[in-house]
């Protein structure tokens, strides 16, 4: 069972800061889900240590031209998932450069709207 919480690009960092307690919550990953040609749902997924299938998902529907804020200040380990979103979906995430999987000058974005 996933506890889904809708948030916005303006408030997602504050929402996660309010929610996250490092000795209670485990950051699973950042996920992207293509909704249509222009819109991708970005999901920040957490579980709870020691609890059975206690999953919380913050999500925002993002347009291609919008900048996704970084949560690296709260969760340093999120940087690698953020870079994956940049490469795979061609979206912009604050402070996250391209080139994790793809070449830095690659025009391809396998899971984005111009997917190969």
């Amino acid at each position: 069972m996933i506890n889904r919480i809708e948030t916005s690009l303006q408030t997602v960092v504050e929402d996660i800061k309010d929610f996250y307690e490092k000795e209670k919550h485990h950051f699973l990953t950042l996920n992207g889900l293509k909704l249509d040609e222009e819109t991708t749902q970005i999901q920040w997924i957490f579980s709870k240590y020691g609890e059975v299938d206690d999953i919380t998902m913050f999500y925002v529907d993002v347009k291609e031209y919008e900048m996704i804020p970084s949560i690296v200040e709260i969760l340093p380990s999120a940087i690698i998932s953020q870079r994956e979103i940049v490469d795979m979906f061609g979206l912009d995430v604050e402070g996250s450069s391209k080139g994790l999987y793809l070449d830095e000058d690659s025009e391809q974005m396998p899971l984005g709207s111009c997917g190969i």
């Binding site: 485990h26 996920n31 992207g32 579980s47 020691g50 299938d53 690698i80 795979m88 080139g99 994790l100």
Partner: protein
């Protein structure tokens, strides 16, 4: 006082201590690593894309099993469990027990591979060969149960592909008994051998606080004392019925990670013995109806830590999304933190103790 000179030294993408391509760039002050950068994208294969464009949902278990040779069963099982949660019908208890049996045998041989490489990195080649030789007992069992030593397509949507026979159960009991006696010897060597202790105690340490900060998982986290194991945090498989016990250490160093893996092998052996000693009656396969409609998120404990599959479908043969989060990929930031402050000379041994899987990471 003169500025300290920083020397940049790469490790990888091809290096004698690496089994697969990954590159770390270390900035060193004399021998000490002060900064780390990594490049993990050498073997990206676009499998997430292929799973939603080229293969129908019931063929995907056999695709994701090819992500990794070592934990193929965990990949196919994690995906299959996610799909099954969106279909009508129930997998039998016997099939679930057989799934645990293969997952735990897989964990045993994967941990043995890691331990053999950590021994090799200390220059202990005899131990490397001994552990690799003993690992064959597990590989033989996997072949007898599934038909293949690795890359076995044992799990299918609705159950498993092969039943187990009385002869195989007898072989499992015999081989596990042999491995158990060998693991007791390894524990003695890894704990008391002077060269292994010198090389690995207090080296490559991740503290409990750092484990929380960097969301460490698997043996890396448990060696630092972080109580997390997906086997106790999900109920897709009946681990509570087969004798699962979480294995922890507190030192957070290479030695701690070795000991956690050794104790996990013993616990996996115990679970396998319990499974073959009390295997439920019934079918190994149930025909599940429908096509995946909705979203599902499933986690399983792979040998290297938490593996997660997120899938979304709309009742069609092709899924909308297959998201795969692999343990090594998620651990890269923690790896980089452990390297900082370590000696460059210890970097290959530290890396081997992480048991990295680049095939999973780049997928």
């Amino acid at each position: 006082m003169a500025n300290k000179k920083i020397i940049n030294i790469p490790l990888g993408s091809q290096h004698i201590s690496l089994l697969e391509p990954i590159k770390f760039k270390f900035a060193c002050e004399n021998e000490k690593i002060v900064e780390v950068d990594s490049d993990v994208g050498f073997v990206h294969r676009g499998i997430e894309k292929a799973c939603v464009t080229k293969f129908k949902f019931d063929a995907v278990p056999y695709v994701v099993a090819r992500i990794c040779g070592l934990c193929a069963i965990t990949h196919s099982l994690c995906y299959t469990t996610a799909v099954e949660s969106l279909l009508e019908g129930e997998v039998t208890q016997k099939a679930k027990y057989l799934r645990i049996l293969l997952v735990e045998l897989d964990r045993i041989h994967s941990h043995m591979l890691c331990l053999s490489h950590t021994a090799e990195n200390a220059g202990f080649e005899a131990m490397f060969m001994q552990i690799m030789g003993d690992r064959e007992y597990v590989m033989d069992l996997q072949e007898k149960i599934s038909g293949n030593r690795i890359q076995f397509d044992y799990v299918t949507i609705g159950g498993v592909n092969r039943d187990i026979t009385v002869d195989i159960i007898k072989d499992i009991k015999t081989n596990l008994k042999l491995i158990k006696s060998k693991v007791d010897e390894y524990i003695d060597e890894f704990t008391n051998n002077w060269s292994l202790s010198l090389k690995y105690k207090d080296i490559g340490t991740l503290s409990l606080n750092e484990a929380y900060d960097y969301n460490a998982i698997g043996p890396l986290a448990r060696a630092a004392g972080l109580k997390t194991d997906v086997r106790s945090e999900t109920n897709y498989l009946p681990y509570d019925e087969v004798g699962y016990k979480m294995q922890l250490a507190t030192s957070g160093d290479i030695h701690g990670r070795n000991i956690v893996r050794l104790n996990e092998i013993l616990n996996s052996i115990e679970m396998c013995e319990n499974i073959v000693g009390g295997l439920p009656q019934g079918d190994i396969f149930t025909k599940l109806r429908g096509k995946p409609n909705g979203e599902a998120l499933v986690r399983l404990e792979a040998p290297r830590g938490e593996l997660m599959y997120y899938i979304k479908g709309e009742g069609k043969p092709l899924l909308n999304r297959v998201r795969i989060k692999t343990p090594t990929f998620a651990s890269i930031p923690a790896f980089m933190e452990v390297f900082k402050g370590s000696n460059y000379a210890d970097a290959p041994a530290i890396l081997a103790s992480f048991d990295p899987c680049m095939s999973c990471t780049a997928k």
